[in-house]
Symmetry: C3
Subunit: 412 residues, 3 copies
């Protein structure tokens, strides 16, 4: 094993880790930008909770739960009940032999830990402006601590989806749809925000309070995807990492273009938030097969994801679901699209692969829906999941946190 | 070829690519921060369009147009009319032999693609708050898709400027002045914003709506310049890349100091925006010779760029040109300064080099002025380039996009 | 020496440099977010001054002052009086032999230069909203240009603290406490802001004007700490760098959890700013021993730092000291805690090490207090260090800079 190469690989994985961590800043900006200023602190509190609690939970048992086979004799799902609370690096974990010279055991843990928190963050945006903070925190603990690593183990931990040949390079299904299914269940259980649907049943726009923050959020997320997809190569392999960055960026660009074009055709409006969600849709869409696609295929996948975003947002609205940031369209619908696209484009294209992808989507979907329903229904019964009408109208910041995000401006 | 070294080189170039991509966030923040809140969405829309359309155009033909000689038998400028729409990696493109072991073909494309979009972004700031969005989008397509790669081919593609010995390390001329000349032509054709020059002919300050965003923008741009200049080494050569980061950062610091000092002497005011533009001036100024200068020379070049900024902004004002973000002073004038400085300082200093640099500046300037005039005059005749008076007064956000960037604050 | 490995090491150090530079954006966001909008430009001006002046001063003599022994025959503290103004790279500075193959001389300078500016930035937050800008600028010159490198030389330059076995991996004492002691002295000399303590002597909250910016600031600082601690390994050693990132991130997460929990127990409030300061406390706390601790120890150190933050903020308040951003609790108290923790946890744990750590803390503290007192008292006598009552009430932005940070919102 070449020490220089091992060092280079490990550097790339650490940078990817840093970039995925930075995505939490992107998600925070996006979510607060697309919602009202009176709920800003609440959303930020949720995001900070997700990343801190997420890392600690992943350390406590999530990592061992998700990669049960990595260590000889590891107990996998039961690991957390054993005396080895916390991570216990394998004896050869720090050597260039670990993970075929890709990176150290520490890098492995931290990179995967940054991923883990993402799933709950996706939910955070969808339930914004009306969810009870305590209920959301408990939900996060279960979803990041159990549901995400269990699903992850099925594929990335070497489980049955992996054995079937299901392909999901960086998590269109394993990360984005896992978050997206919970978002869907949560918005259905929570109901729409007050004023979202008029007495006539028509959807009304509730404009976000800071479009610059939403825009910065998407640009930061795009940047973070350099690490999310680029790091999922699990080494610094020059050809593969750089191809992945190209397909990722082209899909993002094409997604934005697709969404803004279709939106203009349908509504005659140059809609910036649709442009932004189209970029995110393209990014989510390419994630399952970023290492398999040619640039032309990446552009097609991204562009179609952009079209899907416009239609998906309209569909969610039609179903009387209130998803303030478009998380269901972006992460769930484009996550499914990206996963299926692996069976349509690239070197794995073919009917057999398509069906495997479809089965994977359905199985993960069923599991996530059931888990979300159980967790959220239990929380609804025990402590309630929605704030009072008064609190929702006056804002969660004052009621749950006793603070105002912008006191110099809103108190005037 | 050493695989470890190739991998390391490629990592550095991918990071540089990510940092140059992040500059678009910096430009966005700077431009909206220095303009009024009523035009914020419009500016952000332009910036998102530039990066998405820019990447796709560069993929479609810009890259082949700019680097015609990279592939044996490549048709260069006519490449885009051939059946190989989109990029077609050379057979050895993914091997360590490509680009002397610097990086893969994919990395090459993406790094250069991120650069390409920068030129149009420079124009975006100058024409802010009054340009028609449709006209600007068409202009972007021509300028990023044709003008930038053609000029780039003259030097970086191995064309006649390169043969002459013209030196432009990372693009004081090829990127910043190319954008700056178009900015100059555009502000002249557009005319000043309503209220910029009083009936007495005196210039009036139109304060930007968010100085924190402008400041963050400049800090992000400085960070991005680590990749812009550091990546222009085209390998991770330890001595050269780290020297470039040192000269870049010292020039930025000296530029800020120069501008804030001269501004204080002239106007007795500790002007933050001048401080920020001085930093940018220093960065643009060092860009042409960041790899040739000693730290002392970098400080001198940067400091003088800072002085030039203060005088340049005053000059632009005196000429009754309205450039809301100071793009002409920063990118055009300091771009010229930096290019000429290569003939004054560093190992290439000398009369012969100076004249070569001057010829390069003039030829590029003439070409960019002519191209900009043709494109913008045609657009003016066909669809108009300036919004109506009513739209300008009420804001482009409501008229062109039907949205408000800060509805919770401005609607109160 | 392996060129591939040297290149990889140098890349990691350059990235760490970039990340530490980005921390200045984080500090800027945090400081303006936690203060009032009328003083925003003033704070940003100070931050931009610190990074630009800091780099130039460190170039002029700080680096040579801090690392006197690096070059054979270097005069150290008297270097700046010699004709070699500015840095003069050693003959073998650019070779793989420099710094045991870790990085080039240029990288060394720039990484350390980015660190240097941090100490003054810590003070900036504490004195916000009432310090005279001119006095602060002079203070910065002395503190970054002299005090910081002298203390640094005692340990990192191979001085007596190093000889004693004092351990401070990345600067809990050498950076954070050095800044924190000056912050303490400065807030004591300045006195509280008008309105901070009522006639009844009770402390009143003066809410910051943008909690989203404060939150983004902390997330960016956490990201920057990947470079601050990760780069302090001074090579890309895979095991050590990745361990450091794990301990750093776990301590940050645990710090946030500790602070938010204790705060909730004491005050029954889910306080976002305490969550954020807890994260920072955890980061400062792990900094002295990030390379020595196991993940479990990092979590304990971080969690205790979080508790310390809540108690520290209350203590500062009780002492009638007005520290708008909590800099004393975060950087001074947690800096001391982190330094002492090296004698309690990790492979160096033991009474002897604990006493060495304690002596180091006390000696550095005494020196910094004396220096700060001398500099600030002299400035108070000569030019005054606090703005007039009128200026403080109306805001420093208008009085010192003639500008408004948010004219579209605050002028309405």
């Amino acid at each position: 094993m070449d020490v220089g190469l091992f060092t280079a690989n490990n550097i790339w994985m650490m940078i990817a880790t840093a970039l995925v961590f930075f995505m939490h800043t992107g998600f925070s900006f996006l979510e607060i930008g697309l919602t009202r200023s009176k709920n800003t602190i609440n959303i930020l509190f949720k995001n900070i909770f997700i990343i801190t609690a997420g890392l600690l939970l992943y350390y406590a048992w999530g990592f061992n739960l998700m990669y049960p086979g990595f260590e000889e004799g590891s107990a996998g799902i039961f690991q957390f009940s054993m005396d080895s609370f916390g991570i216990a690096p394998p004896e050869n974990g720090m050597t260039p032999e670990y993970a075929d010279g890709g990176y150290t055991w520490w890098t492995d843990f931290l990179f995967q830990g940054m991923f883990a928190a993402t799933a709950a963050t996706i939910v955070s945006g969808a339930v914004a402006e009306r969810v009870k903070i305590g209920a959301f925190m408990v939900f996060t603990v279960f979803y990041v601590g159990l549901v995400y690593p269990i699903v992850g183990a099925w594929k990335w931990g070497g489980g049955f989806l992996d054995a079937w040949g299901f392909y999901d390079f960086a998590g269109s299904t394993l990360v984005h749809s896992v978050g997206g299914w919970a978002a869907l269940v949560a918005v259905a259980l929570l109901g729409p925000r007050i004023g979202k649907f008029g007495d006539d049943g028509k959807s009304k726009a509730i404009p976000g309070h800071s479009i610059p923050m939403a825009t910065a959020g998407v640009l930061i997320l795009w940047l973070g995807w350099f690490g999310f997809n680029g790091g999922s190569v699990l080494s610094a392999d020059p050809e593969l990492t750089s191809l992945v960055l190209v397909t990722t960026s082209l899909a993002a660009a094409a997604g934005g273009m697709g969404a803004v074009l279709l939106n203009y055709i349908l509504y005659k409006n140059l809609d910036l938030t649709m442009f932004l969600n189209g970029i995110l849709g393209g990014l989510v869409g390419i994630t399952a097969g970023a290492d398999l696609m040619s640039p032309n295929e990446a552009i097609i996948i991204g562009f179609l994801a952009g079209l899907i975003i416009v239609l998906g947002v309209a569909l969610v609205d039609k179903l009387k679901l209130d998803d303030p940031v478009g998380a269901v369209a972006v992460h769930l619908i484009c996550g499914i699209w990206g996963t299926l696209a692996v069976g349509i484009f690239g070197s794995k294209a073919g009917g057999g692969q398509f069906m495997t992808q479809l089965y994977g989507v359905l199985i993960v979907g069923a599991f996530c829906i059931v888990c979300s329903l159980i967790i959220l229904s239990a929380l609804k019964a025990i402590m309630g999941i929605r704030v009072s009408k008064e609190e929702e109208v006056e804002g969660l910041d004052i009621h749950e946190h006793g603070m105002d995000a912008y006191p110099d401006f809103t108190n005037d």
